[in-house]
């Protein structure tokens, strides 16, 4: 186990820079998730960490050692690929023991370690099968087993669950998290799925267009997004954004589209008339007599909760209610956001106000 330091790392393909100076400190034993939309550079960063891509500038260190010019095999890392990259001509056991075999360890030792890893992952009955004979979830576990057998300093996961069906994805999510709790190996996990990030991470790094937008624990990111991008990216369904102006006439308020009045706890200083974006999470809407008028468009019950799509001041918003209301499309309701849970962003820069 080791800490990992990523310092001002840049990556260019030809003249095209895809990472613009990324710094991420990762503590020993931490589970860090790099999350962002496709093309944000998260997979490239992971591959640089693995040594599969060169580092254009900046440094990456594992433990106390700068690994910029260290060969992948000498970095003492293990990686789980998106397509698992299992060797199709080797059995599950051979796949898992391959790295040890290359290091020339005795077959007794290999068997012992493979067996132990197989027990951890419930793969013991499958050791003699070939990858083709396994289901997606089993292949996924073999790929993890191959990493575990190595007992590396750092585990790297590159979107490992994206080839699985929804149900299995949820199950494997828990399995990976449990595995990390047991082995406590430093882990860097790349995904585009913010729910995966939220559920698994000790620390989430939100990336966008080659920069780090924000780092923090899942709840920090949820409660205090630093900018509109992070606010919109974290949370499902996404946060509602309404454009308008801040008003400070006695009571702080927000004037939304078409003059809709929305409550604010306290306005940023000297901001009367300032253009801003008002952000409310769907789950923070309540029905209240003094709320803004909204016309229901679509009602989507999911059982545990009901998603309501409605128009406020001509803009569509989503609200989630856990209690069961009798709503019908066309109904007029009054939606109110809890002012203490409202987020306000600068309209031009998207920064949190």
């Amino acid at each position: 186990m080791s800490s990992v330091q990523i310092r001002d790392v840049r990556k260019s393909f030809g003249n095209f820079e895809v990472l613009h100076g990324v710094s991420i400190p990762i503590e020993d034993g931490q589970f860090v998730v790099l999350v962002g939309p496709s093309g944000c550079g998260k997979s490239t960063l992971l591959r640089m960490l693995a040594g599969l891509e060169n580092i254009t500038s900046g440094t990456i260190s594992i433990g106390d050692r700068v690994v910029n010019n260290v060969q992948p095999k000498e970095r003492d890392i293990a990686m789980v690929f998106q397509n698992y990259a299992l060797y199709p001509h080797m059995t599950v056991g051979e796949n898992m023991g391959f790295s040890m075999k290359l290091r020339g360890e005795s077959s007794d030792e290999i068997n012992k370690r493979v067996k132990r890893a197989a027990e951890i992952l419930a793969l013991s009955p499958l050791l003699d099968r070939y990858p083709r004979q396994l289901s997606g979830g089993q292949r996924q576990r073999v790929a993890m087993g191959r990493a575990i057998v190595r007992d590396p300093q750092v585990f790297l996961f590159d979107e490992p669950l994206s080839n699985l069906d929804a149900k299995l994805r949820v199950a494997m999510r828990t399995e990976i998290k449990e595995l990390h709790q047991r082995l406590k190996t430093t882990t860097v996990y790349v995904t585009h799925d913010q729910i995966e990030a939220m559920t698994m991470a000790d620390k989430i790094v939100v990336m966008h267009d080659g920069i780090v937008e924000q780092m923090g624990t899942p709840l920090e990111l949820y409660d205090k997004p630093e900018n509109q991008f992070v606010a919109g990216f974290i949370g499902s369904p996404s946060m509602n954004f309404l454009k308008g102006h801040v008003r400070v006439n006695g009571v702080a308020a927000f004037e939304g589209p078409n003059g809709v009045k929305l409550p604010l706890q306290n306005a940023p200083v000297a901001s009367d008339g300032r253009p801003a974006v008002y952000g409310v999470r769907p789950e923070h809407f309540t029905i209240a007599d003094d709320g803004a008028e909204a016309e229901i468009i679509v009602v989507e019950p999911t059982g545990s909760e009901t998603q309501v799509f409605a128009k406020v001041g001509g803009e569509q918003v989503v609200a989630i209610f856990r209690e069961r209301h009798q709503f019908n499309p066309g109904d007029k309701i009054r939606l109110k956001a809890d002012p203490s849970l409202v987020h306000l962003f600068d309209e031009a820069t998207g920064k949190r106000l």
Binding site: P72, A85, Y87, H89
Partner: protein, 315 residues
């Protein structure tokens, strides 16, 4: 509801036998196969059967032969030229195939790397394959000429030899010379096919092996070779069959000489049957190739049987 349940009365269709036949899957299927079967019978099965029959007769050009059973084979068994051609054919096939495989695999691995002017190099590699065989054979004939050979000239100028090499006059020189010509001609096929095979191997396997600590050689040994083995089996079977039955190169360069040293079974068969007029004996020599070819095909059949890792799940 009762009205709905009443069966719809279909007016009895008075269709001809012909149109009903064309609606039958079996009949139509058979019809679609007729052209292919006709071509196979006419150009494959009939000549083969005729060849087998001729081999059992003493037919000469212009005459009607009579059935002599295995007479041709009995006389061939005592014919040292025939046995020499068998040896030549096996030597030619084994030597050329091994070298073609080695060079072809090397070229394929090279072309699979990132190198400058890659597509141009690939096109150049294919050149020997697109030149008509006889033309390239004539070019080799000049290259091996006892007086005008460019190889001899270059080696002489470089001071490596003192007199011209008699490429096609000495039995072993001649054998190696035609083997070299066959290699030059056959390498592109092996190289390009193996390259296609290499490109189906997922790069992430190499990345995984890299992280697992494999050196270049280990990656070749543990990833490339096993993943490529099914394609190697196909390519080499094909290459062996084509080399074993080769005719054009030999006939153009040496005509089987010197003193039958480069006669292959195919060229000897042609010489005895067409040039010499003994159709029956020539056919018997051709037929003698069949056991070798069947053996090669069987070998590849068992070699080609999909290994266990290529098969689908058992459950």
């Amino acid at each position: 509801m009762a009205v709905m349940a009443e069966p719809v009365v279909v007016p009895a269709r008075r269709s001809s036998l012909w149109s009903r036949a064309f609606e039958s899957r079996n009949f139509l299927g058979a019809m679609f196969m007729v052209p292919a079967i006709a071509i196979l019978i006419l150009f494959l099965a009939y000549p083969l059967a005729l060849g087998l029959w001729l081999g059992m007769t003493d037919t000469k050009i212009g005459g009607v032969g009579r059935f002599i059973g295995f007479g041709n084979f009995v006389s061939l068994a005592k014919d040292s030229v025939f046995w020499l051609s068998v040896f030549n054919t096996i030597f030619y096939t084994v030597a050329a195939s091994i070298v073609k495989f080695a060079i072809g695999l090397y070229l394929a691995l090279l072309l699979n790397e990132r190198l400058p002017f890659k597509s141009m190099v690939r096109a150049i590699v294919l050149l020997p394959f697109v030149v008509p065989t006889v033309l390239s054979a004539i070019a080799f004939w000049w290259i091996y000429d006892s007086q005008f050979s460019i190889i001899s000239w270059v080696l002489l100028k470089a001071g490596l030899i003192t007199r011209y090499i008699d490429f096609l006059g000495d039995p072993w020189n001649a054998r190696w010379s035609v083997v070299a010509a066959n290699i030059w001609r056959g390498v592109p096929f092996v190289a390009i096919t193996l390259l296609a095979g290499l490109q189906t191997i997922s790069p992430s396997l190499y990345e995984a092996a890299n992280l697992d600590g494999a050196t270049n050689l280990q990656r070749f040994r543990h990833i490339t070779l096993p993943m490529l083995s099914p394609i190697i089996a196909v390519v080499m079977t094909f290459s062996v069959l084509m080399t074993f039955t080769d005719f054009q190169l030999i006939y153009t360069i040496t005509r089987g000489g010197p003193i039958n040293a480069t006669h292959l079974m195919a060229t000897l068969s042609f010489q005895r049957a067409i040039t010499g007029g003994n159709l029956g004996e020539g056919a018997a020599i051709s037929n003698a190739m069949i056991p070798f070819l069947v053996a090669a095909i069987l070998l590849s059949f068992f070699g080609l049987q999909r290994s266990r890792w290529q098969q689908g799940g058992r459950d």
